[in-house]
Amino acid sequence: MANPLKSMQRTREEYRSMDRLDRRRFWSDSILNNALYILMFVFVVYTAIKNKNFLAPGSIVNILSLVAASLPMALGIAGCIVLTGTDLSGGRVVGLTSAIAGALLQDRTISRKFFSSLPEITGGWILLTILCVVLIGAIIGMVNGFFVAKFSLHPFIVTLATQLITYGLILIFFMLNDNNGQPVSGLSQEYKNVISAPMIQFTTKSGAPISIPWYVLYAVIFVFIMWFIWNKTSFGKNMFAVGSNADAARVSGVNVFWTTVLVHTLAGAMYGVTGFIEGARISSITQSAGLNYECDAIAACVIGGVSFVGGTGKISGIVLGVFILRIIFVALSMLGINANMQYIIKGAIILAACSLDMRKYLVRK
């Protein structure tokens, strides 16, 4: 994502030397390239005027929590987009891993348990569960990456297939041990303590208690980890090189196969992390948990400037993208817009964002 201020400074002198037609184009280009942010600003101001609660501390913390919940997934999927690919299986992987995490960390005292004979919940057991779901996510991601890299299949096809397969696995999982498709609920306090329990608590002037959950901290940590991987490691640089020009990377000795597999594996691991957080967050996990999460994550990435043309994108952009998308969703419901209508608006926003993004990369003649 280009810094609009910086590019404006650079073009000040160029602007002076432009003729009328070029100036008109300059302005229309500047407006269109930043249209998303301009609209965003207008939208926020409008919502804040219409509904005073929108910018109240409670609402802001709510947005922050929602952003934190969806960030890890977006961070993972972004790598696939940098490789000019995508990942449609993400949402279902979140569903599967959240159900598994939930089942392994159910309260041991409730009567209807998913697994009847599990050891006491200790720190070690929680850690083991995390490892388990991250591994499951990573394996599905690795399968995606393998088929993409080995058979040169488009990630769209591969991940469409694994999305279906994962959904099948979810349905089978929910039928295990005579569960008969019942939601996984009755999660243990220990699990919730780690994820959704308040990390910081305070009260507003009006006396309403507000708390920031722990998983906000985890999201921040993951942002830093991913920033480091993307910018400071050879794997990150290879990922961008492959996304920018796979042939050049291959000729220079980059292992394109492993880079592709690893990017997808990393994405899968991030879905596992998201699933673990999601389980405690929603506390009653059904078969449709995680449904369409990948769409939100992809949309957030594109809004944040991780382009489908490949080889471009920044972590800061992804964070911004997730924020923008979340703010829009929250604002839509605060404006009292019909839930069905919200889907249509979401779709329109994604369409507009992608069109505006592609516009930047078009070679004009």
């Binding site: 490691t233 640089k237 961008f240 920018s244 020009n245 042939d247 000795g253 004009r364 003649k365």
Partner: protein
């Protein structure tokens, strides 16, 4: 003093289904020399290089580097062993920075996985200073001109401590000044004892830079001689395999009245600026200039492929808007594009489908059914008129040679009944024999009163075929020369005017 042989390729043979691409070809490159590799398109130069770099597996023969037999399986392995190539079409990650590209695949690392950017920067600057390259290592590749990107590629080859560097058509998009810089670098590398393999079509360049010349033809080694012993005509004779009587057909066209007028043409998204000229009926007007000087853009803007900012186009005094190719075809313009494979042929379609695609309207019956009878008739007319060599109308166009493909496309355009033909590099990638036929076709068109605008990078071709030549430079019209009296030097001087 006897120079040591750095690279020896001995009796290399490579067969493709039905074709003997290389037949016992040998090549010896000595340390501290520039060895030019010459031959027509399809002579086997690039196949030979691909065998060296392990992109193709040779069927038989041996390759020795400093006396040790080698058999690379990939370009990367070749690089690691000191054999590098600077490609004609640069293969780079354009969205990444200069130093990211330079060290791609072997980033200096600390702790095994963290990239040491400081060292990367430092090393890059060191190599650039050594070669006299003035480029910021942090700059993003796509923001730099081709000449600088090429310099990065050379720096990359040097950074691998290469002993052999292959240059494949390195000057095709460089200005004279940039060519001088490139030659300084090549000479410096030669003086360091490297062996340089230099592939180019430009005779003057070859004579200047090379010490030895190897000529190939039809997959065979024809001759290797010191450059000083070969005259340009000898080289051509050896390359073509026969005395070239006349490279160009006799000029018989008689330009008539002024027909096409282009006024103040400027491009919206390209650097084309204020181009005005006229062309007459039956005239062949050449457009010369360096790559990127706006020649192609001029044709594309006239044809409505590129967006016009200002300018008017008059055909016989009547204004033609030409907002898009469809309008232009209606206004009886035709554009033969430069990239035949990308924007000319539909490679998986057959000759007939390729021939009639621009004139489908003529074959419509009852408003929507296409008459196969009339399409067959038109295609046959095109094949006969162009002397296209093809087994049948149903043959896939990709099975034809470049020259015959070009004839199919020219035939396609003639079926739209154009008055103005815009030809962008009509003989690119076509061998010498077929070129003559294309020239003859162009002259025939002019004889029939058509106006022809022809872009070419080969100046002898422009001087031989055209009546007048417009020279472009930096998106502007730098001047005009008479093809009968002008020399290549005149054109080059104008081409550098606004660079």
């Amino acid at each position: 003093m006897e120079q040591t042989v750095l690279l020896q390729m001995k009796d290399i043979t490579k067969n493709f289904p039905g074709v003997k691409a290389l037949d016992k070809v040998s090549l010896e490159v000595k340390a501290g020399t520039v060895h030019a590799l010459m031959g027509e398109n399809g002579a086997g130069k690039s196949t030979l290089m691909k065998c060296l770099f392990g992109i193709y597996n040779k069927d038989s023969g041996h390759i020795y580097l400093e006396g040790r037999e080698i058999n690379f399986s990939s370009s990367k392995e070749a690089l690691n062993n000191g054999v590098a190539m600077v490609h004609q079409e640069l293969n780079q990650a354009l969205k990444r920075s200069v130093m990211d590209n330079l060290w791609l695949g072997r980033y200096p690392k600390t702790a095994g996985f963290v990239v040491n950017e400081k060292k990367m920067y430092h090393d890059t600057v060191e190599i650039f200073n050594e070669l006299g390259i003035d480029v910021d290592p942090h700059r993003i590749m796509s923001t730099m001109p081709v000449s600088q990107r090429q310099m990065v590629e050379i720096a990359k080859a040097v950074s691998y401590h290469s002993k052999i560097i292959v240059f494949d058509e390195p000057t095709s998009s460089l200005t004279e000044e940039e060519v001088e810089h490139l030659f300084r670098i090549i000479n410096m590398l030669r003086d360091r004892g490297l062996g340089i393999i230099y592939i180019s079509h430009k005779m003057a360049e070859i004579k200047r830079i090379s010490d030895e010349i190897t000529i190939m033809r039809d997959g065979q080694h024809i001759a290797t001689k010191p450059a000083a012993e070969l005259e340009m005509n000898d080289i051509i004779r050896l390359m073509v395999g026969r005395e070239l009587g006349n490279q160009f057909p006799e000029k018989t066209n008689k330009p008539g009245e002024t027909y096409l007028e282009v006024k103040n043409l400027s491009g919206m998204y390209n650097q084309l600026h204020d181009v005005s000229f006229t062309a007459r009926r039956g005239e062949i007007l050449g457009l010369a200039g360096l790559d990127g000087s706006g020649r192609t853009e001029t044709l594309e803007t006239i044809f409505g492929v590129a967006t016009r900012k200002t300018g008017t186009i008059l055909l016989g005094g009547r204004e033609c808007k030409n907002k898009n190719p469809r309008q232009s075809i209606k206004n009886r313009f035709a554009l033969l594009t430069e990239e035949r494979r990308a924007t000319g042929i539909f490679s998986i379609l057959n000759i007939r489908e390729n021939t009639v695609i621009s004139s489908l309207k003529k074959h419509k019956r009852f408003g929507f059914v296409l008459s196969s009878k009339s399409m067959k008739a038109d295609t046959q007319w095109s094949i006969d008129a162009m002397h296209t060599k093809t087994p049948s109308q149903e043959t896939k166009i990709r099975a034809l040679s470049g020259g015959n493909q070009q004839k199919v496309i020219i035939g396609r355009w003639l079926l739209t009944d154009p008055e103005v033909l815009l030809l962008d590099e009509p003989t690119r990638g076509i061998d010498v024999g077929a070129k003559y036929e294309i020239y003859q076709l162009i002259l025939d068109l002019a004889n029939r009163g058509k106006t022809v605008l022809m872009v070419s990078s080969e100046m002898p071709e422009l001087l031989g075929v055209c009546d007048r030549i417009l020279v472009m430079s930096g998106g502007q019209l730098a001047g005009e020369v008479d093809a009968k009296t002008a020399t290549q030097e005149d054109i080059m001087r104008l081409a550098a005017k606004y660079v």
